[in-house]
Amino acid sequence: MTGWNEKILDIDLTTGSIKTYPLDMTMARLFVGGRGLGVRLLWDLVGPGVDPLSPENVLIFTNGPLTGTAYQTSNRFSVSTKSPLTGTILDANSGGFWGMQFKRTGYAVLIVRGKAEKPVYIEIKDEKAEIHDASHLWGLHVSETTSRLGQDRNRRNVLCVGPAGENLSRIAAIMNDGQRALARGGPGAVMGSKNLKAIVVEGSGKTEVADPEQYKFMTYETKKLLAASPLTSQALPEFGTVVMMNLVNNVGALATRNHQHNMFEGAEAISGETLSETYLVKSDACWACPIHCTRISKTEKTGEVEGPEFQTTWAFGAQCGIADLEAIIEANFLCNDLGFDTISAGSTIGCAMELSERGYVDSDLRFGRADLLAPTLEDMAYRRGLGADMAEGSWRLATTYGAPELSMSVKGLEMPAYDPRGMQGQGLLLATSNRGACHMRGNMLGLEVLGLPKLIDRFQVQGKSSYVILNQNSSAAIDSLVLCKFASMGVADEYFARTLTAVTGIPYATGDMIRVGERVWNLERMYNLREGFTCKDDTLPTRLLHEPAPDGPTKGWVVQLEPMLKEYYRARGWDSNGVPTPKKLAELELQEL
């Protein structure tokens, strides 16, 4: 089979051992790469009850058969681990250049186990891996670490943690190429717990393809389609993802002030349109990507920096009651440099603001206090004062101070910008997402607001589950390819299946790809059930279930989760407690679970 690197690099930081062995190609065929391969390996390597911050947890970095082929958006890679924030299975993926370079080293998978006695970094040059002392790097910010280790755009690439990960913040990200993030669920804390500061990759390998003519044809066709789609050729390059701010606010689905409101009076001030007129310098792109959704912004304090994205702008903006775009750009940069998940960081600050205003916490934090964003993030990274509790994420913070209902999270993962009282299907999707509330595990925004591919009634409850399931399965399939979901805004899933076939020589139809996604989804579900999660964890914050939305076009609505959930379990082929049946598992070739 071609496309895949057929080797695993397995490093044990406790013993210092470095081993390589073959990738199980039957597993590769069933799970492809990225998220799929990562979560399948995690099932075997991290059993129930393991403390995510103990040496028994592992980090599994994976690429896929398309990675590094120059097919559009084939730059992404994944990390899989057990989340220290949620306790669920976790995968996160990132763009930039590191993934492509990792593929060039000749490995499909890097497993990191154990814990080094002192800070170390790993260097992989082609197939040779070494562990080096990192005492001189420990404590440095991400940008300085990345620079000192010789980051060189598409020749040598650095992945590292910043102070947040070193200090085991449960919302710490792993950063790559300086400003890209494996963000959600706290993988940075896992890396920090291993005393692992960085992983540097430098490779010269090329990916072979089975059918070069068909591969070239698919790449050419994809290029044409992405150029023809106004989403990928105009909206995203010109305005970035922050273009969503005004639209989501307009329909009354922009979570505001810790989800107390669903519209923000300052939305225009922090919109993609305003960013384009003020702080935007230019757009940029990941390796092999024609879409150019990346923003490069500039403020006096930060100089030219990447970002911000929509979710980040929302998290430090509407969620904190802040309409100061400059402060948001600076907060985004700080998150990148300290190594934080911006959604969790911003939303945790929003939670702290409400706790403070309601008297649960003695703090100066108040909604609208843009001046406190930067110092608060520093306090969180270094665990100073209230920052020490905030570093644990909003659910642990709110629980510590006696008001867990004020954490806007699912399974402990902070929710994204979309207030599901304005999008019922989105509510079901967030409640059932395997890694906690996540819009990147399927996103009902397309169907319920954008008309992508068609518009459905966002307030309707019955019938939503089939759409949610398709979105979740498709999203898992794309994560296993590991491509960028923005490519799917211009290109149908069929093109990805045909390209995978051309690269690997294995026939994959569209249905096979979606089946891969369904397989991954069910495996993740089984992992969480094995950890003790139940159907009771498929829920949303009380506020969204019982407090009617107060504003605008969504006024009066709550999320009607129960009927949607019953329908969802049935449609998934699970029992009434949300457990995949033996029949479903056998259908997905997961019978050994």
Binding site: P230, L231, A235, V243, V251, P553
Partner: protein, 88 residues
């Protein structure tokens, strides 16, 4: 006259964030926008039909272009017009 708010490339192309124009239905309002701002035609229409994925909201409620263009418009209405946009 209803208030019409423009977003993204529609602002850049027209130089306007919002306008008021007559029209008894959404279809009429769109027609009047294109007459006043011909530069917007290519972003909104394709062979005289509304372009796929143009998003129309009336008082924050999304309109299905397949069925909603004949919806009547009142003076208190606020119409949002978005070109095809996407994000995460």
């Amino acid at each position: 006259m209803a208030l019409i708010k423009l977003y993204a490339i529609l602002r850049t192309a027209s130089g306007k964030k919002e306008l008021t124009l007559p029209g008894e239905s959404i279809q009429e309002v769109l027609g009047n926008i294109c007459r006043e701002y011909p530069g917007l035609v290519r972003f909104l229409f394709e062979e005289e039909k509304l372009r796929p994925r143009v998003i129309l909201t009336v008082n924050g409620q999304t309109l299905d272009p397949a069925t909603g263009l004949n919806q009547s418009v009142s003076e208190q209405d606020q119409i949002g017009i978005f070109p095809p946009v996407a994000g995460g």
